[in-house]
């Protein structure tokens, strides 16, 4: 027996065994040996840069990655087994209209071995076969690859749904929308494992999909897909969903603005993490759309502390605007809540002591004209259903996204700025006007001495006066009783 014959025999045996194993779903790819004929083919086809030109001008690289081929489940097949008509001697010239036509033709090669009955036993294929009946033929290589056909299942029984799905979705599958956009269906298993949803199965979110069912969904665009997909979140997070329905983003979406963010735009999809603890991340998420405001915020006393010093005490977007039930900040109702928002931190001694800030600022506002009035407007809204007028709150003097520290600022400069803020409501006020507000200070002998002294005078005078008068009354009654 010549060496050549011996090789042929071994190859034949291997093929037999492989086929047998393959039927049972067991393939040990690495042990296969490449036939001499294939080696000859690969002499040319393992070189990069050789292309096939289609009739319509498209090209296809005829390069075959030898390593991938060696690892593939079909490594026991020689080139002519699939590429019929080709051999060491023959290399017929073929003509194809387009790349697509070629791929469809190529799929027929697979179907020579993989009969419809066999294919249909996998639900994912069942739907594809149904499509084929409608005239849309599937291209096997789109999912499975051509020369690199991998064991999709590895021949194992899946221990979880996730593994089953990942059997395909760890590959660069691609979804094409009606408008031509593409979505990579490849899912990063490691990101999934790190996400907060790592205990969930695929179909928990992708409902309707299972090892039996893989319905085809049709979306006009990637955005339509995202909006539709985010609907799945409400199945568990219904509380957040109802909150979102009250928010401006949902309202925008309902108005037809498809760019309004949905769950996944802020939270991500497969790589969802607990965003609550990552305050910088929150700000960055909002920046995706609200870039201008981000720029202003990043320069403010709060924003710069967060972004430069990674300070976790400062407010981020959602602390004032909320995360889900984001209200319109230009309404009176929102305005009325502003002092409370500021008070969340500025009346909290634990936080303010760290920065040497007074916690009396909220109290001093609430007990002054504007604060008292605001308090009543809130009550009126609640109890009389009678909204108040616009009245100065914290942000009217301090600003909103652009709040800066008043420390080290020249007092004259500060007053000049304040006059402008006063003029928003009180037209034509003079430079004297801002002094009407004691800048959150309690009147004292140093700060607003006149206010302090007048108050002190009355504090002493009123009790003395009343005591004197009561004493006279008592004496008068006493005298009257004695005289009787």
């Amino acid at each position: 027996m010549t060496g050549f014959m011996k090789n042929k025999l071994i190859l034949f045996c291997i093929c037999l065994v492989s086929l047998f194993l393959c039927r049972d779903g067991h393939v040990d790819a690495k042990k296969a040996v490449i036939s001499d004929e294939t080696v000859i083919c690969l002499q040319c086809h393992s070189k990069q840069g050789v292309v096939f030109r289609f009739h319509n001008g498209e090209t296809l690289s005829v390069y075959v990655n030898t390593d991938e081929y060696r690892m593939s489940v079909h490594n026991f097949l020689g080139c002519p087994d699939c590429h019929r008509g080709f051999s060491v001697d023959k290399h017929p010239k073929r003509r194809f209209r387009s790349r697509k036509q070629y791929k469809l033709q190529a799929s027929l090669i697979c179907r020579r071995c993989h009969k419809n009955d066999e294919i249909a036993s996998k639900p994912i294929h069942a739907s594809l076969l149904a499509e084929e009946k409608k005239g849309r033929s599937p291209v096997c290589a789109d999912c499975h690859g051509a020369h690199s056909v991998m064991p999709v299942t590895g021949g194992k029984i899946f221990i979880s749904e996730k593994k089953y799905c990942m059997g395909c979705h760890e590959y660069e599958l691609d979804l094409t929308f009606k408008n031509g956009e593409h979505l990579l269906l490849k899912t990063d298993a490691s990101a999934l494992a790190r996400s907060v949803h790592n205990k969930l199965g695929c179909s928990d979110c992708h409902y309707g999909f299972s090892s039996e069912d893989h319905p085809e969904r049709k979306f006009r665009s990637m955005r339509d897909y995202s909006i539709a997909s985010s609907d799945t979140c409400k199945r568990c997070h219904f509380d957040k969903y109802t909150k979102t329905e009250e928010g401006v983003h949902c309202a925008e979406l309902n108005k037809g603005n498809i760019n309004a963010p949905v769950c996944t735009d802020c939270h991500g999809s497969h790589a969802i993490t607990r965003i609550r603890d990552k305050r910088t991340l929150i700000v960055k998420r909002c920046r995706n759309c609200h870039r201008e405001i981000y720029e202003i915020y990043s320069k403010s006393v709060h924003g710069s502390a967060l972004l430069i010093d990674a300070n976790q005490d400062v407010p981020v977007c959602i602390d004032c605007h909320k995360a889900h039930d984001i209200g319109n900040p230009l309404t009176l109702v929102y305005r009325e809540q502003i002092p409370e928002m500021c008070a969340n931190c500025h009346a909290n001694r634990l936080v303010m002591d760290k920065y040497g800030l007074s916690t009396d600022v909220v109290k001093s506002y609430l007990s002054d004209f504007h604060g008292i009035t605001l308090g009543f407007y809130k009550k009126q809204r609640r109890m009389l259903d009678k909204p108040g007028r616009q009245i100065a709150v914290c942000t009217d003097c301090h600003g909103t996204h652009n709040i800066v520290s008043t420390r080290g600022v020249d007092i004259k400069e500060l007053k000049a700025k304040l006059v402008k803020r006063c003029r928003k409501c009180h037209e034509n006020v003079t430079g004297n006007f801002p002094d009407a507000w004691l800048s959150h200070y309690e009147p004292g002998i140093r700060k607003a001495p006149l206010v302090f002294l007048v108050n002190l005078f009355y504090k002493i005078f009123i009790p003395l006066m009343i005591a004197g008068l009561v004493l006279q009354i008592v004496l008068h009654i006493w005298r009257y009783i004695i005289n009787r």
């Binding site: 308090g375 407007y377 009343i466």
Partner: protein
């Protein structure tokens, strides 16, 4: 004795009666709408303010009642000054040295160091005290109230601190006047044994001869005495007509 109790002597003209009514009504409204703002945190104030229809409605009522009060005080001062200057009215409300000795004498009488109270003229020292407290208080209230009502205008001439000063003045003076009226005036006009259940003279315009003898002997003496010149001046002040 019966006749001196029944005999009525005219004490106040109709102008004074109306003046007192207007003052009484405006005062009550101003106190209710004012003190509920001063003590805004009390449940009763909040109930009242919401009952009125909210803080803006309350301030509206307070401001326009204050305008009536302002007019009343202005007319009062003009009438008093012009009466004294042009009609030679007796300045019976002016505080004199006798008022201080009267007060001291009265205290002595109360504690038993004297056997009769001070003999007073048309207005005794208690009434004068009350009058001047209210008049001066009214001026403070009107001035500080106007500053608070028109802060932008006020700060065109005055420093900004005038606003919080006006606020503490207005707020404290209001409390002072309220307490003086509620304690001193209500005692003297209602609960004092001499007048209980009510001193009706400011409402009817008449006072009994008995009370004139005990409370305003000097005035009675002058009214019925020989000095007709002085008595004439008195009639001028308050339109007194002795009813015999």
């Amino acid at each position: 004795m019966n006749d001196i109790r029944d005999e009525k002597i005219r004490r106040f003209s109709n102008y004074r009666i109306i003046e007192h009514w207007v003052l009484l009504i405006t005062f009550i409204i101003l106190v209710l709408t004012g003190l509920s703002q001063k003590f805004y945190y009390l449940a009763v104030s909040q109930w009242f303010i919401l009952r009125i229809g909210g803080i803006d409605s309350l301030r509206y009522v307070h401001h326009y009642t204050a305008l009536v009060f302002l007019s009343l005080v202005t007319v009062h001062v003009i009438v008093a000054v012009s009466g004294i200057v042009f009609k030679k009215w007796r300045p019976s409300m002016v505080i004199t040295g006798k008022d201080f000795t009267d007060a001291a004498d009265n205290i002595k009488y109360y504690i038993g160091m004297k056997d009769h109270p001070a003999a007073c003229d048309r207005y005794n020292y208690k009434q004068k005290f009350e009058y001047w407290v209210v008049l001066m208080g009214a001026i403070v209230m009107i001035a500080s109230g106007l500053v608070l009502w028109f802060p932008v205008f006020a700060t065109q001439f005055l420093p900004g601190e005038i606003i919080p000063v006006a606020k503490v003045l207005h707020s404290n003076e209001a409390l002072l006047i309220f307490l003086i009226i509620a304690i001193w005036h209500i005692y003297n006009a209602i609960f004092s044994p001499e007048v209980f259940p009510l001193d009706t003279s400011i409402f009817t315009g008449y006072i009994s001869r008995e009370r004139m003898i005990s409370e305003h002997p000097l005035e009675l003496e002058r009214m019925e005495g020989t000095d007709t010149g002085e008595r004439g001046a008195d009639i001028g002040v308050d339109g007194i007509e002795a009813k015999s």
